[in-house]
């Protein structure tokens, strides 16, 4: 006898990364009862919060692949998306920089590929033109591809915005809820087993990212499909240390897109990533060799970084879920394409897999594709009369003009108390996140939402204060407060108590 089904849903989304949250937001438009489950204590903590934060133009993927179509379609959706969900998105454009004549030939090929993919707004620039636009660029530059539709964002903020809009429109989100197995009736998925109980569903949607292979295998789909975590390491530099106007890519090689240098929507400079295949999907460790590799790589594009190592304020690593799905079009020889399908061998299953770069860019297009697939499968997909596509953002003290800061503090004095002085994050900002539609219940969740502790002192000042605020707002002891979930508590016991 199966566990009793706690509650029945029309659709259960497995995995709360940017893709899962975007799918949730898209499904929230229709008369469906939707649940999103996330195994971590926050959404978007894996690939979605540790990547290059770029909305790609779409010249990279091979023409004919699903990656190429999703990238170009997705890119076009970002202006409206940013407007509706109210997150920071800047269509700054990007360069692919050539430093030899040979590289310039590769860049020209890339432009051709972009044209085949339907990427608008690309031109070739001479070395001199690039220098005049990007003062810090290497003097060796021989030319570049300029793609005006490239953009930058805060990918975690995008994920939160999508999830919050979904919740506003009736989607239920359960954190700390890990997928264990499917409940099958013959060839039909009728439920999802989790560590928090079993939930019934008519559709299960696999958006498990790094674990999408394991989830689809439980459904008996694509047993040959394997995700390999591809680690990318990054440096973050303090603000205003270097002027990078746009995204600078090196000319890609057979090994990948290479080490890029870009600005972020928060004004920092970000350098990375490298690309190292690993086995451990949870391990997000930076290595000495990796850091040296990306620093050397970045110097080739921006030589003045040589004396900026002291301006590094953070290093991090992210895992990208590299899959081995061949392109559906047999004419295209490509073995790491996205999977976006309703497989034939099982009913009630929407399967998304291998969504690595350009997954962030593609996320809205993938969500729309899921809606299309469901419609084709006969789902009524009746639009809600009261669906609200607009997500009102929370106010961030640091983003306001002084006059507005004054008004805010007058209204709510908690915004007058600065907790993170490097990033000007206030008690009001932090408390608002603790009580948000997707509540931030640990330090990293606060950090990712407010940028508290991301500056020069990296939490040295704010950490004990944020822990105290979390404890007070959640009504628990500071001993219960964690960095990123129950296994990562900050403190162990009160002082003056010895063990044994």
């Amino acid at each position: 006898m199966e566990d009793a089904v706690q509650e029945k849903y029309d659709a259960i989304i497995i995995g709360g990364g940017v893709v899962g949250c975007m799918v949730a937001r898209w499904l929230s438009r229709y008369e469906m009862k939707v649940l999103l489950i996330e195994k971590c204590s926050d959404i978007g903590t894996a690939t979605s919060s540790a990547n290059t934060a770029i909305v790609h133009a779409g010249y990279d993927p091979l023409p004919g692949t699903l990656k190429a179509r999703m990238n170009v379609e997705g890119n076009k959706m970002w202006d409206q998306l940013a407007g509706e969900l109210n997150f920071a998105f800047e269509r700054r454009g990007d360069y692919v920089v050539a430093t030899t004549d040979e590289e310039f030939e590769t860049v020209k090929t890339l432009m051709k590929q972009g044209e085949d993919n339907g990427v608008p707004g690309m031109i070739l620039l001479s070395g001199e033109e690039v220098k005049s636009r990007e003062p810090e660029i290497t003097p060796n530059v021989t030319g570049a591809l300029w793609a005006s539709t490239g953009g930058i964002c805060d990918p975690f903020a995008v994920t939160v915005a999508a999830a919050e809009n979904a919740v506003m429109n009736g989607v239920k989100v359960m954190l700390d809820t890990a997928f264990e197995d499917f409940v099958m009736e013959g060839k039909r998925i009728v439920g999802v087993k989790t560590n928090k109980g079993t939930f019934g569903c008519r559709w299960a949607i696999n958006s498990a990212g790094l674990y999408s292979d394991e989830v689809m295998h439980k459904a008996g789909v694509r047993p040959e499909f394997v995700i390999k975590p591809r680690v990318g390491e990054y440096f973050v530099l303090d603000r205003a240390e270097i002027t990078i106007n746009n995204v600078l890519f090196p000319t890609p090689t057979s090994k990948g897109k290479g080490i890029l240098v870009t600005t972020t929507v928060h004004g920092n400079t970000i350098i990375g990533p490298n690309s190292v295949l690993k086995d451990d999907k949870e391990l997000k460790a930076v290595t000495r060799e990796g850091l040296n590799e990306i620093w050397d790589g970045a110097l080739k594009l921006v030589p003045c970084l040589a004396d900026k190592r002291r301006c590094v304020i953070a290093v991090f690593a992210g895992n990208r879920p590299l899959g081995n799905a061949p392109c559906k079009n047999p004419a295209v020889k490509y073995n790491s394409d996205f999977i976006i399908e309703i497989p034939e061998e099982v009913q009630g299953f929407v399967n998304l897999g291998g969504i690595e770069s350009p997954g962030l860019t593609s996320a809205p297009a993938i969500a729309e594709e899921v809606v299309k697939l469901l419609k084709e499968a006969g789902e009524p997909m009746q639009e809600k009369a009261d669906w609200n596509p607009i997500r009102i953002p929370r106010i961030h003290f640091r983003d306001l003009e002084r006059r507005d800061q004054e008004k805010l503090v007058e209204k709510d004095p908690r915004y007058g108390r600065v907790i993170c002085r490097c990033e000007n994050v206030t008690e009001g900002d932090i408390i608002a996140e603790i009580h948000a539609p997707i509540p931030a219940t640990n330090y990293d969740a606060i950090k990712r939402r407010t940028w508290c502790g991301t500056g020069r002192c990296q939490g040295g000042f704010d950490m004990p204060r944020v822990v105290a605020i979390l404890a007070k707002e959640m009504g628990v002891s500071p001993l219960e407060i964690s960095k990123k979930g129950d296994e990562s508590k900050f403190l162990q016991r009160p002082t003056k108590v010895t063990e044994g």
Partner: protein
């Protein structure tokens, strides 16, 4: 309640700030304000509950809070204003400060002189490019010190400390007192970076091993620190392959240096020495921005708190001298008031002392033409100081009148001067 204008505003209430405020008050500053971001005065001294403070100044061996309290008592008895739990968001070169707090909200404060005493911050994991994962349990020694000594919580039970800085060694002893095990102190350099007395009193006395020329090769553990891998380094400080050692622990403390905290200084246009990471200062601890002084660890990192206090006393006294001179300048400077039939006068203000040496020409325009003889009269409110005859005045033709050294005696007490243009009777 705080005022809008001060003689001296001190930012930070650690040993440097407290000393500066006290010295400012004792050297002629009337209104002195300390702005502190924490909820009480004393700065980092409050979490330094070990002894070793005051040997130079008091010839006594005091704990940090005790040392701070002597200066806090003195500051409060001198009537120095304080703004606690308050952050300075901005300072400009005209010495206007923009501050915010939960209790008082936003406030703009102007000061004749400012003493920067923000201290320093600890170097972080990122600044030493420490490889490995990012679990809970990696803290700067100062953060761990705050938790242990101020908030009353132990951040771990098995520690490795990277860096032989003073805070790290002192925390090694402190944590041992609390029943924790400090497995190892690792130091990248071939020498101790803190004081020898701390090595003896905090490590040797408690059998805590110190390994020089060693560093952390990587941090192990996805959620909480499970171990660190140590490694020996060569003369170029590069890891030597084959010397790696896994040390199980649940917490890694970093005591890898301090950096003067000068973000506010930069906002005010203060120039920073790339070697000290603190402002360039003259012998009065004045920065390149007139009226902005700096004292203590914000200038360069000290190893004894007594010396921070001395620097604070010196900077505070200099700031007071500057403020007093500014105040006198303000008293001497009086407004020129456009009176009857005068549209405006240039200069708008007059430093009376300048009249002692030279003629001051007041330039003005009239509101309405008077086509008959007039007096251009300068009054101080009660007395006529001087007057000049004109045959007529017209708005299109500038009118002037001179104040001469001989008028100084009459003007000396004036609060303002008014010019009227009236028909000669």
């Amino acid at each position: 309640m705080t005022k809008d204008l001060y003689d001296v505003v001190v930012i930070g209430s650690g040993p440097g700030g407290l000393a500066a405020a006290i010295a400012a008050k004792k050297n002629g500053a009337d209104d002195v304000l300390i702005i502190e971001r924490d909820v009480e005065l004393g700065g980092i001294l409050l979490q330094c509950i070990h002894n070793g403070f005051g040997v130079e100044i008091f010839k006594e061996d005091l704990p940090g809070p005790g040392y701070a309290q002597r200066f806090i008592n003195e500051a409060l008895s001198l009537g120095i204003d304080t703004l606690l739990d308050t952050m300075v968001l901005d300072i400009n070169a005209n010495r206007r400060l923009y501050v915010t707090s939960k209790r008082h909200g936003f406030k703009e404060i102007h000061s004749r002189a400012i003493v920067l005493a923000m201290g320093c911050r600890e170097r972080t994991r990122a600044q030493i490019n420490l490889p490995g994962s990012r679990p809970a349990g990696v803290y700067t020694a100062g953060t761990a010190q705050r938790w242990t000594n101020v908030e009353g919580y132990m951040p771990g039970s098995h520690f490795v400390i990277l860096g032989s800085g003073d805070i790290g060694m002192i925390m090694a002893r402190r944590l041992t007192f609390e029943g924790a095990k400090v497995e190892r102190v690792l130091e990248l350099m071939p020498y101790l970076t803190g004081l020898t007395r701390n090595y003896v009193q905090c490590l040797l006395d408690y059998d805590i091993p110190l390994q020089l020329h060693h560093t952390v090769n990587r941090i192990i553990g996805n959620h909480r620190v499970e171990a660190i891998e140590s490694v020996q380094v060569d003369d170029r400080l590069q890891p030597i392959a084959g010397t790696e050692e896994i040390i199980p622990c649940d917490t890694l403390l970093l005591s890898v240096g301090l950096i003067p905290e000068n973000e506010l200084s930069k906002m005010a246009g203060v120039k920073i020495d790339p070697i000290t990471n603190g402002p360039f200062v003259n012998d009065e601890f004045q920065t390149n921005v007139p009226g902005i002084f700096a004292a203590g660890n914000v200038v360069h990192v000290y190893d004894l708190v007594d010396w921070v206090t001395e620097a604070g006393l010196s900077a505070g006294a200099s700031a007071a001298r500057y403020a007093v001179a500014e105040r006198q300048k303000e008293i001497r400077s009086i407004p020129m008031i456009a009176g009857e039939n005068v549209r405006y006068i240039v200069p708008h203000r007059l430093d009376k002392s300048h009249m002692q040496e030279e003629d001051i020409r007041l330039q003005m325009r009239v509101r309405n033409p008077i086509e008959e003889p007039v007096w251009v009269e300068v009054h101080d409110g009660s007395n006529l100081i001087t007057r000049k005859a004109e045959q007529y005045v017209r708005p299109g033709e500038m009118v002037t009148v001179e104040l001469k050294p001989k008028h100084f005696a009459e003007v000396e007490k004036a609060q303002s001067l008014t010019v009227n243009i009236v028909k000669r009777k």
